[in-house]
């Protein structure tokens, strides 16, 4: 069966180390993953759950710098056909300098930017400038986002809306029920954008549930946990299995 739903996979850079990140990218490429979200670690990752909090902290403790992350991304983009997104917290970009960061990201071939603590109002410059640097700012919607706000989000975002189907932080299980499907359809209809669904996608059944509704499924902390518990090689088995 041909697969319509695309995949976006996630890595916290420098965790457990850049070599593992590199291997992960090779596995993603081999499994025809369409989008890769690379997280530049931040010490106060307050939108993340325990798996990524730990990954962020250990990466920083290992000495990961923003510069090293950008160098790694540059090198990776040259070798891989996937669309690359940077995910990080606002302060990392702010300290680098908004223009400097976006210019650099654009130059190394970044496709999109996700900043969980920059809602569109506060982050307005970030969203606007991202577009002027020819990258796609990704906006986030939740089941609690009002109709009115959805319109605001749609104006600021590009390419796809990242839908978080539940409360809470990254990493824990999501109860995929019919209301999730309804909301996805509603978002697509209102915004005329593609819809990525993230947070809590852990198994093939979750993808099957989203098939025909969401355009992109985001697999985040599940992959990090596989690396931690079973080793990087098992990520390949996991992706093959869910893509079967």
């Amino acid at each position: 069966m041909a697969h319509k739903i695309k995949l976006m996979t996630h890595q916290v850079l420098g965790y457990p180390n850049f070599e593992t990140n590199e291997k992960a990218l090779e596995i993603f490429k081999k499994n025809n993953v369409e989008y890769v979200e690379l997280q530049i670690p931040f010490s106060e990752s307050s939108a993340d759950g325990p798996t990524f909090v730990k990954a962020n902290q250990l990466s920083i403790q290992n000495g990961t710098t923003v510069e090293a992350c950008l160098e790694f991304i540059k090198k990776s983009i040259d070798k891989n056909p996937m669309k690359f997104l940077i995910m990080t917290y606002f302060n990392i970009i702010y300290q680098y300098g908004l223009d400097n960061f976006l210019r650099r990201a654009s130059e190394i071939g970044i496709w999109g930017i996700i900043v969980p603590d920059a809602p569109v109002d506060e982050g307005i410059q970030l969203y606007d400038k991202c577009v002027s640097y020819q990258m796609n700012p990704i906006v986030i919607a939740t089941p609690y986002t009002s109709e009115k706000r959805l319109q605001v989000l749609a104006k600021k975002g590009r390419e796809f809306i990242y839908f978080v189907p539940r409360k809470g932080v990254t990493g824990s299980k999501t109860d995929f029920n019919d209301s999730v499907r309804e909301k996805i359809l509603q978002i697509k209809q209102r915004t005329l954008m593609e819809c990525a669904v993230g947070f809590g996608i852990q198994e093939k059944a979750d993808l099957e549930f989203l098939e025909g509704y969401a355009d992109i499924a985001v697999i985040g902390s599940k992959i990090t946990r596989i690396i931690e518990e079973e080793g990087i090689e098992k990520v390949n088995d996991f992706l093959e299995e869910i893509r079967e």
């Binding site: 302060n91 702010y94 809602p119 982050g123 409360k167 932080v169």
Partner: protein, 415 residues
């Protein structure tokens, strides 16, 4: 709000403030902002609030003339605002009672809070017990070790205390964890932030509730001296007691407002929590707001140090960052050894035991005293009492008899 703070986009003070939170939290912050907005325009709400502070917490707190200290220095006339005499022993209860009333309006039944020194946690646990809410308090594992007596009280008041081991295991990490809890449970849960930090409307709301301190200071100084004070001192961690004491005087240009930060082991040591006075804080965005943070060039937050857990924090109120920038609020840092000296002097001269946090305000006032004259009226906001700090002060004073006692008690529990 004071005129000096007006004229900016909502939730901003100069370039500082805002609400940098995940999209998920926007609706609940809107809900809180609207609820607080209505309450602050309603005179009967303030009346209900102040009456509860009066009957339950013992307000108004006295303004004590520190006759012996004044005589000892032979300079300005020193008054002490006695927030230590609040129920729970610190100013933190003012804010918590106010947010408890907001919670009732919101119809929420579960309250979460972060705590550093434990004072805000204890205050929240007290409020939850009184108002019939379930309380969950997040506290850094490091702080739990330093402030176990407060943990003991929180648990005995019926609150659940969760130890946060992430990051530096201090206040900032407790805030991150509380934000995560809120993101998962906001439908029935209120986040009772303890200081004038975090996303809008928290800085404004906490300042509003704490501003009862300054309102009383004005009234009391007028009664005693028939004029306004020349200087008001307060310690500055997140900003709740300093803005509480200062807000009333922000538009009174002749009243000098001086905030005392934790100088720890000194500027050069890097082991301190001074963002403004040492000018080591850099503008950044974390924990839901923009302010001066202690951070490295990549934007990763640094470890902070203070002898007092309550001042040991990477950020500072966006309102304080702005007031400091425009020169309306002066800042100075007191080092640990100066703090201990001030603590001893106030205890021995006045029979009043200040918290280590509040001892920073005394220490800076003492450093400045030479620049005052007998005509000057000085108010020190004593944010809390020090007997809660007995373990830390016993250690800081290196009191051998105390250590022996603790050891014996500990041994008594052995095997």
């Amino acid at each position: 709000m004071a005129k000096i703070l007006e004229g900016f986009p909502e939730g901003y003070y100069g370039e500082y403030g805002g609400r940098f939170v995940p999209e998920l939290l926007i609706p609940v912050l809107d809900e809180l902002k609207d609820c607080f907005g209505k309450a602050k325009r309603d005179d009967s709400f303030f009346e209900e609030y102040y009456n509860l502070l009066k009957d339950y917490c013992g307000r108004e707190t006295p303004l004590t003339y520190a006759e012996n200290l004044t005589e000892y220095f032979g300079k300005g006339k020193i008054y002490i605002k006695r927030e230590d005499l609040n129920h729970s022993g610190a100013h933190k209860i003012n804010n918590v009672i106010g947010q408890g009333l907001i919670m009732k309006k919101l119809g929420k039944k579960r309250v979460i809070a972060e705590t550093g020194a434990g004072q805000h946690g204890v205050a929240t646990a007290i409020m939850a017990a009184k108002m019939g809410f379930k309380a969950v308090i997040y506290m850094g594992a490091e702080d739990i070790e330093r402030q176990y007596p407060n943990v003991f009280w929180m648990r005995n008041l019926g609150a659940e205390v969760i130890s946060v081991k992430d990051g530096t295991a201090t206040l900032k990490d407790a805030i991150n964890e509380a934000m995560r809890d809120w993101a998962a449970n906001f439908e029935d849960t209120h986040y009772c932030l303890g200081t004038t930090c975090g996303p809008h409307p928290f800085p404004e709301m906490v300042m509003y509730f704490q501003s009862v301190i300054g309102k009383e200071i004005r009234k009391q100084v007028m009664q005693k001296e028939n004029r306004l004070p020349d200087r008001v001192y307060a310690c500055l961690g997140g900003g709740s007691n300093s803005l509480g004491a200062f807000h009333e005087f922000l538009d009174e240009k002749d009243v000098r407002l001086i905030a005392a930060e934790a100088g720890g082991k000194g500027k050069e040591s890097g082991q301190h929590a001074s963002r403004l006075a040492y000018q080591t804080g850099k503008t950044g965005i974390a924990q839901g707001y923009k302010t001066k943070f202690l951070q490295n060039s990549d934007g990763q937050m640094l470890d902070t140090w203070s002898i007092s857990a309550g001042l040991d924090y990477i950020g500072v109120s966006p309102i304080c960052a702005y007031l400091s920038e425009i020169g309306r609020m002066e800042t100075a840092a007191a080092e640990d050894n100066e703090v201990i000296k001030a603590f001893s002097l106030v205890s021995k001269k006045e029979g009043i035991i200040p918290a280590l946090e509040s001892s920073h305000a005394f220490a800076v006032m003492i450093k400045d005293i030479e620049t005052t004259t007998k005509e000057d009226i000085i108010v020190v906001n004593m944010s809390g009492r020090g007997d809660k700090d007995i373990f830390n002060i016993g250690e800081a004073l290196s009191d051998e008899k105390w250590k022996e006692f603790v050891k014996q008690r500990g041994d008594g529990y052995g095997s």
